[in-house]
């Protein structure tokens, strides 16, 4: 389907590595996730103390989107959409919260509870980047490229969106994967980016589901 949309940039974070447009940008081997993601924060953000209140999933999403943010910095926030998918929902934060409500040590933590919803990471992304547009969080075993492709096309064609942050963002049992990309209209193509990837089901699938 010719829809004048392209995938303009992609970012993958997993196994203590950060890869943008297939190039390895950052690596921090043999350290636990919290050290890796803190070092990534220091390198790419470093001026947003709210980061340290976030749960693992939100930290992952914030870093991944930061690496894509050049692509939408100048876009009106009302016209930016966010469509994220994962398998574990907020189970990582849920498990942390569950530990604060055990019978003999019952002190439910509000700052943990606030992250026990998967769409909170979308909220954090929207706060940081002043995004007001259409957003949805879907939960499924795998990333269904056909379904998400249809959702995203509709955002552009009928829901007033002209740039979208789309992809897979999952964290469970210290296993994590952020695989996000930016979809935009061809007329806003970054002219320095040589390879223009058309937004098709196949290309979305390749971008999000490609093995590292």
């Amino acid at each position: 389907m010719n829809n004048n949309l392209i995938i303009s940039k992609s970012c993958k974070i997993t196994n203590n590595t950060i890869i943008v447009n297939d190039k390895l940008l950052f690596e921090n081997n043999n350290v636990p996730y919290n050290v890796f993601i803190k070092n990534a924060y220091k390198k790419y953000i470093n001026n947003y103390p709210k980061f340290f209140k976030m749960d693992n999933l939100s930290k992952l999403g914030i870093i991944a989107v930061e690496l894509l943010s050049d692509e939408f910095k100048s876009i009106d926030g009302k016209e930016i959409g966010v469509v994220l998918v994962n398998s574990a929902s907020s189970l990582d934060a849920d498990q942390t919260f569950q530990k604060t409500i055990v019978k003999d040590n019952y002190f439910p933590s509000p700052s943990v509870f606030v992250y026990t919803l998967p769409n909170i990471v979308i909220g954090e992304i929207c706060i940081k980047h002043k995004i007001y547009g259409e957003s949805s969080f879907f939960v499924s075993q795998n990333f269904d490229s056909t379904f998400i492709y249809n959702i995203v096309c509709d955002l552009f064609s009928r829901q007033g969106i002209n740039t979208a942050i789309v992809g897979w963002l999952d964290f469970i049992d210290n296993d994590y994967l952020a695989s996000l990309c930016i979809i935009k209209k061809i007329s806003q193509q970054n002219l320095n980016y040589n390879e223009m990837i058309n937004f098709t089901i196949e290309n979305l699938n390749k971008t999000i589901n490609k093995d590292i």
Binding site: P49, F51, F52, K53, F107, P108, S109, P110, S111
Partner: protein
């Protein structure tokens, strides 16, 4: 009181994930909310949990919490007054 305040500052930093803030950076009498550390409503609720967990005193409502949580000093005074 000084020992309590010193420990309180460390507890606050840990409970609220205040990265890169050291105990000596926190002004004992400065407001914790809206200025100073700029804490928010979730932080206030987390401090209420902290006070119950570490000091055994339960704050019943957010309104009651507002006055108690004004500064590190007011929290310390509240703890001393109510400690069983």
């Amino acid at each position: 009181m000084d020992e309590l305040i010193k420990n309180l500052k460390k507890e606050i930093i840990e409970a609220l994930n205040l990265e890169d803030v050291k105990a000596e950076d926190i002004d004992t009498e400065a407001p914790l909310f809206n200025e100073g550390l700029g804490l928010d409503s979730i932080d206030a609720l987390e401090l209420i949990v902290l006070i119950e967990k570490k000091h055994g005193i339960k704050i019943q409502s957010a309104d009651e919490g507002k006055q108690i949580l004004y500064s590190v000093k007011t929290i310390a005074e509240f703890i001393i007054k109510n400690k069983k």
